[in-house]
Symmetry: C2
Subunit: 352 residues, 2 copies
């Protein structure tokens, strides 16, 4: 079965009846109307995603970190050696990375998936092997992936989402690892929004101004090589990364399974943009967890009409910002699930 | 023993050695330097509060909701009947309020403390009875409390903090309940910052423009009645509420016990302002959890140099915004406690 295609075909709009029921319920809970601010709209969205009010508890949460390498690394767009991708995958598997600490604090699991790391990771326990190829091609000179490779990565991501939901996960969180992966992210965002590369290219994990100008030039050359085609999956294969493609599959797979997907950062954001250009309804099933410092992330959020829950100035990736937002999502559901109404609690309503 | 005075005498500055050790450790963890944004400074603060790096896990967290009524309610500054304070205390004790749902989602306990509710709550199980008097006086015409009553409420708050820490709490969260309590909060903030009442008076749980202008007038009359004395405890007794006084004691008690205190909203914010005017060092031991919609809350945060972790447009009180921030605080500690270093994980450092 083509897992991504099946998930895509299963997508549905939010359940408007459940959204309306949540909004009506919020007005009867023992609090002034609207006083829980953004938690109220978030709770209604959770009800619409689940198709029932109150929504089920979005617990447990599961982070999937998709890892891949990038041919564009050879152009010197990152100060980090490419080997760090594999080293960090080992660090994730051993529980020593930021996403491990932050997910653990939020009670979320971490699944590490190799979709495209350069070199052999066979010796690392705890890494899901979905490798499509070892690193993408150099997107300045050639398409990053073939259409078949992109499809394989889309399927890998959709399968991971389905597996996690089958295993009990009720909230999915996007994570990513890949040295140089802010460069293909910028290329995707520029291609799919029409914004100039300089507007969507950031400092990544930390580069100087000269390297930034070079990075913008690399993105411009990649876009020129790619040409005018704006078909989303064609853009993804040409300019994206294997982890980007897997994240598109993961987001669509989670959305199709009726589970909210928390998204953070420019890598997952650019993947969500691809998914949204294919299937706009998927956006309503995603929650923007955190506003990354990367400019491309904010361009995506504005394009899709999403406002992130958190703004804590993170620029790490791995899914850290999204994982930090998990407890907020769980609190929004708890409000609808657990609070008493004015009637049930015997509290006088000012408008009652 | 005068508990508040003892706590005040036990206050110490942050441990600079532990702060420096945390900053040095952040630079060795497997992430680009600074990439965890505000979590890094928060982690260093936690180390400084605890006096050790890495800091202990700020778990479990405990919310204390201090409840009181207000003589100023008679002026029509709130659309809610005064009885709602007692009804909501019963709702807290039964687990049906927003703070119960949000604290539960964050794994935090909720302790409800009556320091000044009008009427007899003796019949409600699970409410800590620390009632000083049944409602404050009407601060337009008379001091809200006597100095002795304020001291009793300060002691009650400090005792609750000490009891929670003795019972194992490692993170304290301020909560409050009291119909009309944004009015004394505005009076405290205006008196202690010199800002005009119109700048620090908000819409509370929801009033119209005419009621807002009346509320500003009430605050102005209270300030005129109070006069020029700016001694913090004198201002507190004259213009505050019993829950405000208890929160001053709770904040100072938590700070003295070496436990971080998460603060949210204009009620706890105005209490923190009183505490800070008495003992400036207490501010470093507090964490601003959330930016309330109430303008007085932002005035306090700016005055004290605090930036809240969250901005989710809540305006409910009860400690809801602070409780939402608990998992972020716990994540900041987890980063320092659980992450591997470049050396220990065998990851190449770009600057190494």
């Amino acid at each position: 079965m083509n897992t991504f295609a099946a998930a895509r075909a299963a997508l549905r709009p939010l359940d408007a009846v459940a959204v309306a029921a949540a909004e009506e319920r919020q007005a009867r809970l023992t609090k002034p109307r609207g006083s829980l601010g953004r938690l109220e709209a978030l709770g209604a969205r959770l009800a619409g995603i689940a198709g029932v009010c109150p929504p089920p508890a979005p617990t447990p949460a599961a982070v999937a970190v998709f890892a891949g390498d990038h041919g564009v690394h050879r152009h010197g767009v990152s100060p980090w050696p490419q080997e760090v991708t594999a080293q960090m995958v080992a660090n994730f598997a051993a529980g020593g990375a930021a996403i491990n600490a932050i997910a653990s604090a939020a009670g979320a699991s971490v699944t590490v998936v190799d979709v495209g790391v350069a070199g052999d990771l066979g010796g690392i326990d705890g890494v899901v092997d979905r490798k499509v190829r070892a690193s993408t091609g150099d997107l300045v000179d050639e398409p990053a992936m073939t259409a078949e490779e992109a499809t394989a990565a889309l399927d890998a991501g959709a399968a991971v989402a389905a597996d996690l939901v089958a295993g009990g996960a009720r909230l999915l969180v996007t994570g990513d690892m890949g040295i140089a992966n802010t460069t293909p992210s910028a290329a995707l965002v520029a291609a799919l929004t029409g914004r100039a590369p300089a507007d969507v290219t950031g400092l990544g994990t930390g580069i100087d101004d000269a390297t930034w100008r070079h990075k913008v030039d690399v993105v411009e050359r990649a876009l020129a090589r790619h040409g005018d085609d704006r078909e989303p999956l064609g853009v993804l294969a040409s300019l994206g990364g294997l982890e980007h493609a897997a994240l598109v599959g993961f987001i669509v797979g989670g959305a199709a399974a009726g589970v909210p997907v928390v998204v953070d950062g420019v890598i997952a954001g650019s993947a969500l943009l691809v998914a949204a250009r294919l299937e706009p309804t998927v956006v309503d099933r995603c929650i923007a967890g955190h506003r990354s410092v990367e400019p491309g992330a904010s361009v995506v959020l504005a394009d899709l009409g999403l406002t992130p829950l958190l703004d804590l100035e993170l620029r790490l990736g791995e899914g850290t910002g999204a994982a930090l937002a998990v407890p907020v999502v769980q609190a929004a559901a708890a409000v609808l699930r657990e609070m008493a109404t004015f009637d049930s609690a015997g509290v006088a309503d000012k408008d009652g």
